[in-house]
């Protein structure tokens, strides 16, 4: 679970894809495959982009900043969506979240 920071607080969350998870972008969908369970998960284009950035940057915060710029939305709004998305993927064992806040 990624904590929601209070006023003036700063959180640092590292995001990692486990070795048993691979994903590939299809035309209008990203497919995530859990190699341990053999189960496929489908992501819409926005969720696919979220996962791609989380994987590339390894950082919840940096992903939120980039997405806010790409989609022209307030960072808080993006963070809320991204937090829910990460929480869902984490519950399914598709990403690992490490809270590195001081």
């Amino acid at each position: 679970m990624i904590p929601t920071p209070g006023a003036g607080e700063r959180t640092v969350t590292t995001v990692r894809l486990p070795k048993h998870v691979v994903y590939r972008a299809f035309v209008f969908e990203t497919v995530v495959l859990n190699l341990e369970s053999g189960k496929y998960h489908g992501l819409n284009p926005v969720a696919g982009r979220m996962l791609e950035l989380l994987d590339r940057t390894g950082s919840f915060e940096e992903t939120a900043v980039r997405l806010a710029a790409e989609y022209g939305k307030p960072k808080q709004e993006i963070e809320a969506d991204l937090r829910e998305f990460c929480s869902d993927l984490s519950k399914r064992g598709l990403i690992e979240l490490i809270d590195e806040s001081a």
């Binding site: 590939r24 299809f26 035309v27 969908e29 497919v31 495959l33 190699l35 496929y40 489908g42």
Partner: protein, 333 residues
């Protein structure tokens, strides 16, 4: 069936077999001590690896197998409960495939070697099992990705047909051959993504055609498809296959039913990746390497190859569907 060609000797541990047939199927080069169906197969060479078939007596084959250390992979039964097909796996020996009256086979863990005990029946009968299960498993273990689909080659390009069993994949492929295409594969399609396209490889030299479909083909046109070598609930043909491989120009998903009033072909928009994935063949090979490769091949195929839905009214003849696909491919691909 063509006579043995280019005799050679292949050493394989304690056995020495005369290799008398060289050909290809599913992208694999195949060396075999017995001739396999498909008049053009001997002209083909696989580009995705090779596999060697050697013969053994059933007792020899069973001596090599360790049933108590094996895991059941598949057990398919007839309605009366008798065994239709059994597949078991062993981490060191590989896979054992057995179908009564169709033969039994050991496939090495890397797919490079097949040891076969063939029954004394008409060759088409044991070749059905070899082409439907044994060689596809060997190809999968060699790293080839296979799909449950038929395909034809037309003007140097491949068209593939995906559908559930009984929908008419083979019938449409046969009718396209009658209308000028060449058969690339009847039921199992090997796809190989390259930098710029996806190559469709020729499949088995044995095609299994519904009786009514074969009887609807005018006699002079039948030789374009192949020669009948046997009959069960279908006609079994030594197929005249295209040499292949050919770049895949289009994938057609066939759906047949009373809910469709008119024949219609439309682009899959958006294409559903799970439809491709669900048509992957030999699903029981589920190593991480295979699953990752499977996802790669499906992603590349979805990216590079246009896909279409073909809605076919229940009673629409395959000949008319083939004509519509032909016209569609000439104008839209």
């Amino acid at each position: 069936m063509s006579p043995p060609k280019s005799p050679a000797v292949a050493e394989s541990g304690h056995r020495t077999e005369v290799v008398c047939w060289r050909g290809a199927a599913f992208g694999l080069s195949i060396l075999s001590p017995v001739s396999l169906a498909g008049s053009e197969a001997s002209r083909r060479r696989g580009t995705m690896g090779s596999t060697t078939i050697e013969l053994a007596r059933p007792t020899e084959l069973e001596r090599e197998w360790r049933p108590h250390e094996a895991t059941e992979v598949l057990d398919r039964r007839h309605r009366d409960g008798s065994l239709m097909l059994a597949i078991d796996s062993h981490p060191l020996i590989g896979y054992r495939i057995w179908a009564p009256r169709h033969g039994r086979h050991l496939v090495s863990p890397d797919g490079s070697r097949i040891t076969s005990a063939l029954p004394r029946v008409a060759p088409w009968r044991w070749q059905r099992l070899l082409f439907a299960q044994v060689l596809p498993l060997a190809a999968t273990l060699r790293g080839v990705e296979l799909f449950h689909a038929s395909a034809v080659e037309l003007n140097g390009r491949a068209l593939a047909f995906f559908a559930s069993s009984g929908t008419g994949k083979t019938s449409i492929a046969v009718q396209l051959v009658v209308q000028g295409a060449s058969l690339l594969t009847d039921d199992v399609l090997a796809l190989e993504p390259t930098a710029s396209n996806v190559l469709a490889h020729a499949g088995a030299g044995l095609a299994n055609v519904p009786v009514s479909e074969w009887e609807s083909v005018p006699r002079p046109a039948r030789e374009r498809v192949g020669t009948v070598v046997g009959r069960s609930d279908k006609f079994h043909l030594a197929a005249k296959l295209a040499i292949g491989p050919a770049p895949l120009a289009g994938v057609y998903y066939l759906a047949r039913g009373a809910q469709f009033r008119d024949l219609a072909i439309r682009a899959s928009d958006p294409p559903d990746p799970l439809r491709l994935l669900s048509n992957c063949f030999i699903p029981y090979v589920s190593s991480r390497k295979r699953l990752t490769h499977q996802l790669d091949v499906c992603a590349e195929t979805a990216r590079l190859v246009p896909m279409f839905e073909v809605n076919v009214p229940a009673t629409h003849p395959a000949r008319d569907v083939a004509a519509a696909v032909l016209a569609h491919s000439e104008t839209r691909l």
